[in-house]
Symmetry: C2
Subunit: 87 residues, 2 copies
């Protein structure tokens, strides 16, 4: 499955979240990660996110697709991190 | 079509971008918008974004789907803005 994660968290937890998400997904923009995950990988991701955030204050949204062939993905302006540069 | 837009822009342009995007899509989180658009609506959106950002410094990523029935969308923590509260 293909997953997009966006988050809005307090600075300290935001840094922890970024470090955690970077181990599992590709950083593509400030507070935005994308990548392929297995079902179990996705479950681990959710548990890890829950361990880090304050669920009364921080907000994480995930979008999950069967595969990357959602319709289209485009960039306007700077591409902060080219995804296909990842093996 | 269903569109998700995430952006990373300098503060002044970020505010302008937010005000513009709010006229066309639902604000769901800091720098994240979602919503249904027609083909022409999407083209207008892109033109409007290009008019606002500095394409050498700012970054806007859009994800476009034929419809909202991509696999799944979930929230962990606070839902900053419930989408279905929109008519």
């Amino acid at each position: 499955m293909y997953v997009i994660v966006v988050y809005d968290a307090a600075p300290k937890r935001g840094v922890k979240l970024m470090k955690f998400l970077r181990q599992h997904l590709n950083w593509v923009q400030n507070s935005v990660f994308e990548g392929e995950l297995t079902e179990s990988g996705f479950e681990n991701l959710k548990h890890g996110i829950k361990d880090i955030i304050n669920d009364k204050k921080d907000s994480v949204i995930y979008y999950r697709f069967d595969s990357q062939n959602y319709h289209d993905r485009g960039i306007i302006g700077v591409e902060k991190n080219e995804i296909d540069s990842f093996i």
